[in-house]
Structures are given as structure tokens and as C-alpha cells.
Symmetry: C2
Subunit: 388 residues, 2 copies
């Protein structure tokens, strides 16, 4: 794939420095696949860490015109809110994933075989620890912003709690401070479907077809929760094609598409990481965890999100404020459901743009920022006016 | 089971009178399991048909103190809104079910083997046609009311459209005029889970264990859609038991419970019947179907229903009114989700009570109603006063 061209891989854990995991396991070797955009400033003060959602990867945007488009193209690039003419953007595939970073499909150095179901359970916090090691390797000590949607939003929140001194801002889109039982329940059903597939073979399916139908079913269920009754009715109604409801054709297509690009065991582990997400984990209380946050936090909800409904984001902001953090809530008023964070760019762009400018140094400081070109300043200035 | 004691079985289709099905198939033999409560009046003017939901049966209430309780106990019985001292209540297991009425587990008279996946596809309308044949056999020509929730509500609506002259009222709880793609999508996922189970064996599992895990997964998904984020959070939170989230224990319990009492093929066929539900099916338009309705219609939604959200019931009432029908909307303001129709009896009882009284003959007629006892009249009178 063309998109692989810009992917770099780096080792962040080895026998000398294994990673102790949140649930008690150990990973003796971790490789991280990542991409970077733009240029690191001399003082290292222009870094934005973009973190991806469940089935995402290290490729939020194309690197050039010949490159495949990314999953957050309208947000990341020259002249975008996450302006790669200004910022040095880092995005890595998550721990437990299957797009280059160590996960269940990786070879277990102790057995020489893929981990499969013997991969240790990982959490959102483990993903963040791995990203921290990646930044250490890259010589990055400070972040302007950590930003992500859905599972990416959970990581952004964990960043704010785990490394509170490292970033100015955190932007969390369509993600809760902890996962509620309804969202867990959907994941349980998805996992059971994968594991019911006889081709799953207790996770030892590498070299064989693998649990294609089980994973496709899990994905189909995911797709329902990412959309809304409204958006599905708009798109599919009760229309038929090939003697099937359009929605059935769609779900089959989406399921099969994921099967081609995603490892079923990785899907199982990442779903479980979503279930385990709870910022309060390991702290004396949830409130105590939130009280650690020093970054300015923007929390964005999507009005029609049925997976992590907006009341959860509103609640998170109230809880952050109660814990003394600077937090604000923006809502994407959209029928797209949870997927709004990957669709509603005309609404998301100004929200993110405004937030980034609110955490940047003052305009005076902007002027001496070596990476701001005059055109960028004019661009930012013009939009700042509209903010008044 | 004790509850079987009061179940009667009657043949409503045979070689001489097979049932032509809505989707083109034919059933050469149909038996219906049903129960009755109360006494049929001499003029046959006191019949209420109660229709059940997906996994329900012919047993909405206990017949006596020794009997098992039913699924609508607080609504059906002496002194209840569906007062068995007053009304003759009929409830039958649906066509395609597995509680005594012909379904996929029944013996195909042409092969001597269970139908399995060779059972013809059935619709909600077919269920209604079978119920009509049952009433014919029982000598019932007129209904005071047809009432049901969820799939039962769909049947009640089909009754109003298919046999518009037969009833005074129809009460529809938590059911739409047609199924929307999100609800269809959940059913698709459920069916695929059942069929993925190797023990499903293309539906030929009779005499073997059957697709227990597949059906349990489908049921688990159903249970999510019957509840709400709120009710699940209230019940389970993120509590753990036996190293599992409580919600996982709960879903496993619910799945396993259904497996013990329900046939997987019946589940597949009934889910598909839900998908095919569309009152406009076979008519020149949806509006044309609604214009056939002569009964007074009460439509009840549950505020937190995510399966058939209340806007669908509100829309149905608007559409019924636009088609010239007498329709009204009541909402159960509850966090219980779709299951509210089986839980929120303190709200549902007065709604149903009021509606039944609104469709009954005038008080003058009530007096000569042979089955009204003085105490019932006093009871009704007292409550009528509260209506003013």
C-alpha cells in the first residue's frame, strides 16, 4: 500500500526495557509504527500528538498528492486546524493494533510464534505509555496538544491524567471518562461473535483464513453503534437491492472491508481495552485522577452519538471542572452519530482551530514562532478577528 | 411446566384449507396454542385479543394461584385494566413461534422431519391471519380490543389494517408502523451470530445440542436494545463479579435462559418477520394502508426506547390521523428502554384502563353488560370520575 511509504518503525521496549502493563503482564519487545508531518521546531515547542480510534492507524492525512488520503484529512495538513506548516504532527499505531505496532499478530519472541490469544491484556493507559516511549525516542519532551476521537479521545484523556505536565491542551471527541455498561455490552457481543467463529481456533488462526465471518459480524454491530437511527434511515430506508435490504448489503460490505485490513485478535484486545477504560483506574478515586489534569481540555460530543452519548461528555466536563481543571464542552449538532468525529468536519474544523489557538502562546509569541509563515499568521489573524 | 396446563391447541389450517403466506409460501398444516381467560358473553361482545412479543407466549397471566405468572400479569386479570371478570381474553402463540404454535421446529407433514430452515418465511400479517382463523374456530366475530407491545404492537397494527371492521380499539405499545434500518441491522447481526454457530448446522440441529452460543449472543444483543444506557448504568455500572463486568454476567445469564426455552430457528424467522414489518406492504401506499383503519388507536411510546424510539410512535399517530383514523399518543416517561412495556406497569395500567373505557359502550350500555358485576361498575365509575 502506498500509505505504508511514510510509516517508520521504532523499537520502544526490549529485554533491557520491557513494558510493565497496567493489568500485570509484561511485553518484552514493542515496536511502534508511526508517521510524522511537518517539522519539529528548534525548541521542540510545536508538537501535536494525534491518536487514532479503534480501527484507525498512523495515517491521519496524506503526506503528498501521491499518497493515500488519511482518516482525518480535513483536520491535518497545510492550512488545516492541525496545520502541518506550523506543527510537527506525530501519529502512531496503538499498542495491540495490527498496522505495524506490536499486537496479538506479532511474533512472541519467547515462542517464535504469533501471540494470538496469549498476548497480554492491554489498556488505553498502556497505549499511552508506549506513545510516551515513542516521543522519548524522538526527543520530544513537550506537546502543544494531544487530540483524538473515540478510542483516540480516551487516549487523549489518559495522556492528560498520566503525564499532566507534558501538554498545553487535550482535545477529546466523542469519548467518555469511563466506559458505561451499554458500550461494554456491545463489545461483549462483538467479541463473542469473533470467538464463536470456528475459524478463530482459540486465536491460533495465523496462516489460515481466520474468523472472517465472526469479525465481519462484530464490525457490523460496531457500524450500527457508530451511526444513528436517523442517519441509517436517511441512507438506507427500507430500500432493497439484490433481494436484501440495503442496510444488509451495507453491513456486509463494511464487515468484509474490515476483515481485509484488520486482525481479529487485535480487534478482540482493543475492544477489551475500551471496556477497561476508566480514568480512575489505579487512583484513589475517579475525582483524584481528574484532579491530576493540568492541560486545558476541550471535550466534544456528537448530539446523535448512541455509543458514547453526549451526556457523557457533558458530565466529563462538569467532573473535570469540579476537579479544578480547565475544561469546556462543544457539541457537534449532527445526525451522523458517533461517526460524526470522522464526518462532520465543517463543524469540527472551527472548533479545533479555535481550541488550538486558545492554547497557543499569545499573538506576540506567535510572531517569533519560527515555523509560522507570514501567510499562516495572516490566516490565523484573520480568523482571530472572527472570534471577537 | 405448570403454565402448559391451560394451553389448548387447535388446528387452523390443513390440506383442505392451507394458509397462503404473505411472501408466497404455503403452510399445509397449522396448529395454534392458545389460552383464554374469563367468559365469553352471550353476544360475544367482550373479547380482547392479547398478542405477544418476540419471545413471549400464550400466557400473559396466571389462570389461578397455582399457575405460573405471566408476562403481563399486572395488566391482565380480575380487576386489572384487561379485566378477566369482564372480558374474555384470548392469547395465542404466534405463527413461527416455538411455544405450541406451528413454527420451524414443527414437523413438516410432507417430509416427516422438522421444517428447520425449510420453513417458509412468515410475516406479522401471516401471524394475524392465523389469529383470525383461531377466532373463527372459537366463534368470535368481534373484538373490543387488540393489544400488544413490541412485536405484539406490530400485530395489533396489522389487525387494524387487515381486519378493520372487527375491533373497536387497538393498543400499540413500543412498536412502529414499519421497521427502520437500525432495528433491521440489529436483527441482521443477531441472525448472523446464530447461523455462524457450527451447531446450527444449516438449521438441521434437531435432536442435537443446537446453536446455543449463537442464540445466546443474539439474545444478548437483543437485551441491549431492550434496555437503555441509563438503565444498564443504574443496574450494572462498572461493577465486577467473578472477574467479569456485571453486565457480562447478566448478558450470559439472559442468553442462556433464552436458549433453554426458545428454538433458534424460530428466533431467526421471527426476527426476519420483524424486519419485513411494514403496514404498507401490498397496498398502493403506506398511507393507503393506514386509511383502512377504523378502530380507535392508542399508540404508546417509551421515552428511552432505543429499538423503536418514541418519535416513531409519534410519527405513526400523525400518519394515522392524516389518514383519517382516530389515534392518540401516550408516552411512558421511563428509563427502562423498550422493555418498559413489560416493566412500567404503574404508568401503563392507567393508560390502558382509560383507553379501554374510552372504547367501551357508553355507561348505559355498560349496565346491561351481563358480565359487569356491580363491584366492577363501581370500580369503573369511580375511575371515570377521576377522568373528568
Amino acid at each position: 500500500m502506498r500509505r505504508r511509504k511514510h510509516v517508520k518503525v521504532i523499537t520502544v521496549a526490549d529485554k533491557a526495557q520491557p513494558l510493565q502493563l497496567d493489568c500485570g503482564g509484561v511485553l518484552p519487545e514493542i515496536q511502534v509504527a508511526y508517521e510524522t508531518y511537518g517539522h519539529l521546531s528548534q525548541t521542540g515547542d510545536n508538537v501535536i500528538l494525534v491518536v487514532h480510534a479503534l480501527t484507525g492507524d498512523s495515517h491521519p492525512a496524506a503526506h503528498d498528492q501521491a499518497d493515500d488520503i488519511g482518516w482525518w484529512e480535513p483536520l491535518v495538513g497545510p492550512g488545516c486546524p492541525i496545520d502541518t506548516n506550523v506543527f510537527y504532527v506525530v501519529c502512531s499505531n496503538v499498542l495491540g493494533g495490527c498496522q505495524g505496532t506490536t499486537g496479538p499478530a506479532s511474533i512472541n519472541p519467547e515462542t517464535g510464534q504469533p501471540y494470538g490469544a496469549h498476548f497480554p491484556q492491554i489498556t488505553i493507559r498502556d497505549m499511552v505509555h508506549v506513545q510516551k516511549r515513542l516521543l522519548d525516542k524522538l526527543g520530544i519532551e513537550q506537546l502543544v496538544l494531544v487530540i483524538g476521537g473515540s478510542m483516540g479521545g480516551m487516549q487523549a484523556l489518559e495522556w492528560a491524567v498520566t503525564y499532566p505536565d507534558m501538554m498545553d491542551g487535550v482535545a477529546v471527541i466523542a469519548a467518555p471518562g469511563y466506559t458505561t455498561p451499554q458500550a461494554i455490552a456491545y463489545n461483549i457481543v462483538g467479541r463473542r461473535a469473533v470467538m464463536l467463529d470456528p475459524d478463530w481456533q482459540e486465536g491460533n488462526y495465523y496462516g489460515t483464513a481466520g474468523p472472517a465471518e465472526g469479525l465481519a459480524i462484530a464490525r457490523a454491530l460496531g457500524m450500527i453503534t457508530y451511526q444513528s437511527d436517523y442517519s441509517m434511515t436517511e441512507k438506507f430506508g427500507r430500500n432493497l437491492r439484490n433481494d436484501k435490504f440495503e442496510v444488509e448489503n451495507y453491513l456486509e460490505y463494511q464487515g468484509n472491508s474490515l476483515v481485509k485490513r484488520f486482525d481479529a485478535n487485535a480487534y478482540l484486545y482493543l475492544l477489551k481495552a475500551l471496556d477497561l477504560h476508566d480514568l480512575g483506574r489505579g487512583y484513589s478515586s475517579y475525582q483524584a485522577a481528574l484532579a491530576r489534569v493540568k492541560a486545558k481540555v476541550l471535550v466534544v460530543g456528537v448530539s446523535s452519538d448512541i455509543l458514547y452519548p453526549p451526556y457523557q461528555q457533558q458530565q466529563l466536563v462538569r467532573e473535570l471542572k469540579a476537579a479544578g481543571a480547565r475544561a469546556s464542552y462543544n457539541e457537534i449538532d449532527s445526525g451522523h452519530g458517533h461517526d460524526g468525529f470522522l464526518i462532520d468536519f465543517p463543524i469540527l474544523r472551527p472548533m479545533i482551530d479555535r481550541f488550538i489557538r486558545s492554547i497557543l502562546p499569545t499573538p506576540a509569541l506567535l510572531n517569533h514562532h519560527s515555523l509560522f509563515r507570514p501567510s499562516d499568521l495572516a490566516y490565523l489573524g484573520a480568523r482571530l478577528v472572527t472570534e471577537i
